[in-house]
Point group: C2
Chain length 387, copies 2
């Protein structure tokens, strides 16, 4: 079955999942969830829509312009269709589940909607699967962060992803350096933009001092395999607050490497795009074959107001995962004639066979089986491969 | 963890699925899907939102007032959030998959949203799981219909539902009788309302002839266990078109009984509420413990315009199923100390154990395991039940 969208039928960026991809997506999502469940993460299921003031608070502010809004005729208040799960999981953790023991381990799977697609991902609906570790105290930050990164890598590997790279970043590092070097608020956006574009000339030009310019350019260049990048960062004249971030990241890298030698680890210390509301480290996982990142996550503040907790989590983008793994092997399909023994058919189904019932007597069972895309007919003793 | 909703947090009729119910719902949904997959039904996944003219056409017209609508800023056209899957599956079958061999067997699982809840079900978001058999030709209508009803019963039984009752109806029978007896269009709604309320006095009063009044009251009384109801119907003076419906229903009942002797079969020939767009029979499945029906389905016209096909399908309401089956047995949870052998932990997880990693050295591992809701600690050889 083809997947070519018909623009007359569906809005741009929305599509039908067809066989076999829709089934494959569900099966791979189950496999990811089985991994995090094995680590003690319990599933929650927030509603698709909720009040926009809940949905677009805290880390949700980053997605205000991406969120579909609808008026609730019942409450006469505005609601939003979730553009992401993280804010909802934080709300559940810090309200409904605030009395559960910490750290709290939660996971989820479901659909999110965005008003607009991006250039890299024109889609406006995504299947996301993720896990959040909430309320681990400060003394065990590195251990908690490592659990989440290692588990994300394990989950993707279990789903069939090979050749994964984990890219780590320190999204708050620019702000730390801007503070230490007294960069005026008005000058920060332009400097930030130059950093995002890794435009070293613009960084030097916009940095208020040559020392900061040197430092930022040094950090832009301290990008690459984790050990080399960390060493390059260590050679820079980092102020104490930044040096602490470097030490934390080095400790995290060491824990991840000890737990899983397989995924390549890279560091891009200043990468901040998409990590605007992260408070500690951030990470993205890439793999050959996928257009964008397969998963992303990091440390952030869950909840809002006086109910906030530190959390670390990750979200898997299922479409990217499906692009990075082999296509599924089509299951064997058996056509059972109308007069087949129902006990035999039931037994085959219980064993995992797909058995279609013929709905009429067949003159040529093999031809009908082929017409229906079956690989097998059914003999008295069981499935028979079509000749 | 408690499930008490906090009205300040979420809009009326929307709720958070919490542990263990969210996990249970997903697991039971997977079990239902495994059954229909075993019968050759292939999964499709329509988008959450699409153009309202697609979503609210054909059988979708019944849900026009229940559908959340949003403006699409990209196409500048109105879209609706799906209130049901059936219309979307019909669209996919008759457009994207119109060249696939017939009959086409499709299944789905996901969320639907309604603007308003009902008295019986205040919820506005439902998880639906279902299957549709599309394009079986007229000669095998009864066989196709029976496949769907029997499979729905099998799926619910596999999910743990016991004591199910399948209630069959002929939603078009009133219109057939109104036509035969020449009931004017203007008189039909009032007569229909009397039938829906099973108000025999009002039916006799509103029927244009005593013969029709007698017939309709006879049909109201021909409600109950299938064999008795069918016999009672056969004793009535049914016009030929209605007698044909009766004969079709009797053939369907015979096929269902032959395939599955266990669920109780009842017939309520005039029940039409919620079956407005069905073209043949309709059915609902009930079970002790659930507030409303667990599943509903029947025969209808899929697609729209010049691309229509006859179809039979069913939809399972997951909240009702969860209310009708035993609560899940909580999985054993093991707390692994920080210095546990990672190979042992990995092996346990692969065997299906839930193993939480302690994130710090523990003075009293058993106390910490209890605090985290674990049933087991971890010894050198494997899990140890907490004393």
């Amino acid at each position: 079955m083809t997947d070519t969208p018909n623009p007359a039928l569906l809005p741009n960026g929305l599509s039908d999942g067809l066989p076999p991809r829709a089934e494959h997506e569900a099966a791979i999502g189950d496999r990811l969830l089985a991994v995090v469940r094995g680590h003690g993460y319990q599933r929650v299921k927030p509603p698709l829509i909720e009040f926009e003031e809940s949905l677009l608070s805290g880390t949700g502010r980053a997605l205000v312009h991406d969120t579909f809004r609808v008026m609730d005729p019942v409450s006469q208040r505005m609601m939003g269709v979730r553009p992401d799960f993280t804010v909802q999981i934080g709300r559940i953790a810090t309200s409904r589940l605030h009395q559960e023991p910490r750290p709290l381990r939660l996971c989820y799977a479901g659909q999110v909607l965005r008003v607009r697609g991006s250039q890299l991902r024109p889609e406006r609906q995504f299947t996301q699967v993720g896990a959040e570790l909430i309320g681990a105290d400060e003394a065990i930050t590195t251990v908690a962060d490592a659990e989440v990164v290692v588990m994300a890598a394990e989950a993707l590997q279990t789903a069939g992803v090979t050749g994964a790279t984990i890219d780590l970043t320190l999204p708050t590092l620019p702000a730390v350096l801007f503070d230490t070097h007294g960069v005026p608020a008005a000058a920060r956006p332009a400097l930030r933009a130059a950093l995002d574009q890794k435009d070293t000339a613009a960084v030097r030009e916009r940095a208020p001092s040559a020392a900061l310019g040197d430092l930022l350019v040094g950090l832009i260049r301290a990008t690459g395999p984790a050990d080399e990048a960390l060493a390059a960062m260590a050679a820079l004249d980092l102020p104490p607050a930044a040096a602490q971030r470097h030490a934390d990241l080095a400790a995290l890298v060491a824990r991840i490497q000890a737990a899983r030698p397989d995924p390549a680890l890279t560091v891009d210390p200043l990468e901040g795009r998409g990590f605007e509301y992260y408070t500690g480290f951030g990470f993205s996982i890439f793999a050959p074959g996928a257009r964008g990142e397969l998963a992303r996550g990091g440390r952030y503040t869950a909840g809002r107001g006086d109910r906030v907790e530190q959390a670390t989590g990750f979200t898997v983008m299922m479409d990217a995962v499906l692009d990075a793994i082999p296509a599924p092997v089509p299951p064997a399909r058996v056509l059972a004639p109308e007069d087949a023994d129902p006990r035999l058919v039931a037994r085959l189904r219980a064993e995992g066979w797909v058995v279609l019932d013929a709905l009429r007597p067949l003159d040529d069972p093999a031809a009908e089986a082929r017409r229906l895309g079956c690989s097998h007919g059914l003999g008295a003793d069981g499935p028979v491969v079509l000749g």
